[in-house]
Amino acid sequence: MSKVKVDQNAADFIYMDDIHQPTHDKNLWNARMKRDTAASGIPEWEQMRDLASQIKEHTLTHLDHYVQQFVTEATKRGVTVHFAKDDIEHNQTVYDILKSHHATKIVKSKSMLQEECDMGAFLEARGIELIETDLGERIQQLSGEMPSHIVMPAIHKTTADVAELFARTIGTDPNEDDPKQLTEAMRNNARPKFLEAHAGLTGANFAIAETGAFVVCTNEGNADLTASIPPLHIASIGIEKILPKTKDLGLFIRLLSRSALGTPATRYTSHFMGPRESGTEMHIVLTDNGRSRRLGMEDFWRSLKCIRCGACMNTCPVYRRSGGLAYGATYSGPIGIIIDPTFDESKFSELPFHSSLCGSCSEVCPVRINIAEQIGLWRQRMVNINESSKTLHYAFGAVEKVFANPKLFRLAEKAAYYGMKLTPNWLLYHKKLNAWGKHRELPEIKKETFRDWYIKNRLKK
């Protein structure tokens, strides 16, 4: 797989126009502020983060036990559980279930695991008609793009973009750009598809070992429509979604949507404990796809605690600027940086360098994943396996020499002043050379260095 060129992708977004990037930034920061308000309203918030982290670490360090218990309990409730070691097995299993039920029209609610496995393309290539029912996912499906955010898949698009897309794909009036009317148009477009679907596919936010139940959180109610009408429900669940007990949900439901969007919870928190009525079936595809291997990575296994709230993305200054598509992966933002390379170190080698290491992600993570620290460790790993960018490699090599030598450092300070003076703006802010330059002026470099000033003003006295 060829390397994802994050800087170039980011530049494409930043330089698109003067609307997309600032709007993206504003909307995500707004979500972050709402998260802060919601969190500050709960005195036990920080303790809840500690407990949620501990429950996840407990589960992951005893994962064999809890997987076994979950499978036993779900099976008792009449659910058929399948096992997939990777994306290929996952997709094939889903397809085989659909085929044995002659199901060719399916509706699905949002599942990051199904995205990760690129299931949509696999099924469509085999003649399955598949409709995303989460509005953001549907927008992305119609645009042929990956989700750019794990909670708000189309947040990089403006209302005008969606108006244009819907006019082109579902026949709305191209001049209709009221979000309410566009949402209504999609509601009316999706309704008949729910009614005639042969099967409904969902993911899961949590799976409970104690009862074999799994939980799906949505705001639209689309997972419930997906599961309550067709006679067949297939849920794709990653092994890291398991929690030991029902009571754990109290903690995680309180944390999830407050961290994601600043709302107390999602509008629908749906629990599935078995097939709906006689004549209907429920299947779970319990999927590994690199998770067990990640569990064995000493520095990185804690990324498996992630509950996919997206708080780290909303707060990340780099993500807010570059947009999620820049990461070229199912998981973008800070959490993507530490998960994606476990799938392909070479393809995603530039991701760990796409961070300011400000640490804000670790501060908002509801399960206290040491995201920023892991980004630093991934950088080391990329340098060690020689996958880091050569330009960066030489640049940092040079910086190391300069910083280690006082004389060279002084010379470099002076050179920076003259360098900045002499470099024309078209070069300093060139899109290809500096993707981050737009709307950002470099600070003026003074001719007098701090050292000069100190010697003149303080040293004698």
Binding site: E57, T61, L63, F83, T93, T269, L295
Partner: protein, 197 residues
């Protein structure tokens, strides 16, 4: 395809050596909280409305004023008779023409303004999601404080499906504008009323 044994073997091969204990989880109950008041405020945050009523007729009248164009009503509770009988439903999709669905909630959660529904209260699960609008009956004495106390109340063996519903369906996926009435109910009205036996 893989087997459970293969999956477990892959996990065991990679389990972190240092084990972490399972913690005690408090229920964070606060002394003297007025649960009904909290419920009303939090329901309002998600766009739901609530009324104290003395009878089903009073609730019907309020809904008639709010939604005068309602034609098809369907009720999952014998207290309120709808125009369409839920007992005659052969397939869940037959509820697609329902303007107003009426359901008695099993309990409410003050912290979130949520109500708990299962197939026992829904009769046909799709009633909760195909109905254009929802009227929910809730016994004000059946409001629990928060999610911790809520999960203590639920018997997962007693149903195959259960859902916490918090106000009407919503999305902000287009330009981050909040729109109510995404795929599920466009509005949700709670009536505080004890079940008449």
């Amino acid at each position: 395809m893989s087997s459970l044994e293969e999956l477990l073997a892959a996990i065991r091969q990679n389990l972190p050596a240092q084990k972490v204990d399972y913690p005690e989880i408090p229920t964070y109950e606060k002394q003297g909280a007025n649960l009904k008041d909290k419920f009303i405020v939090n329901l309002g945050l998600s766009g739901g409305e609530s009324y104290d009523v003395g009878s089903i007729d009073e609730a019907k009248e309020i809904m008639q004023q709010k939604l005068p164009d309602t034609r098809v009503t369907c009720s999952a509770t014998s207290e309120w008779e709808g125009s369409k009988s839920i007992h005659d439903i052969a397939h869940p999709r037959e509820l697609e023409d329902v303007d107003l669905g009426i359901i008695r909630a099993e309990f409410g959660v003050a912290e979130m303004g949520m109500i708990w529904l299962t197939e026992n209260s829904l009769q046909v699960n799709s009633l909760g999601f195909l109905s254009q609008h929802l009227a929910i009956l809730l016994d004000p004495d059946l409001i629990t404080e928060n999610m911790h106390t809520a999960y203590r109340k639920i018997d997962f063996q007693a149903s195959t499906y259960g859902c916490f519903v918090m106000g009407p369906s919503a999305t902000a996926d287009i330009g981050a504008y909040l729109v109510r009435g995404a795929q599920g109910a466009r509005s949700l009205t709670v009536f505080f009323l004890k079940q008449q036996i």
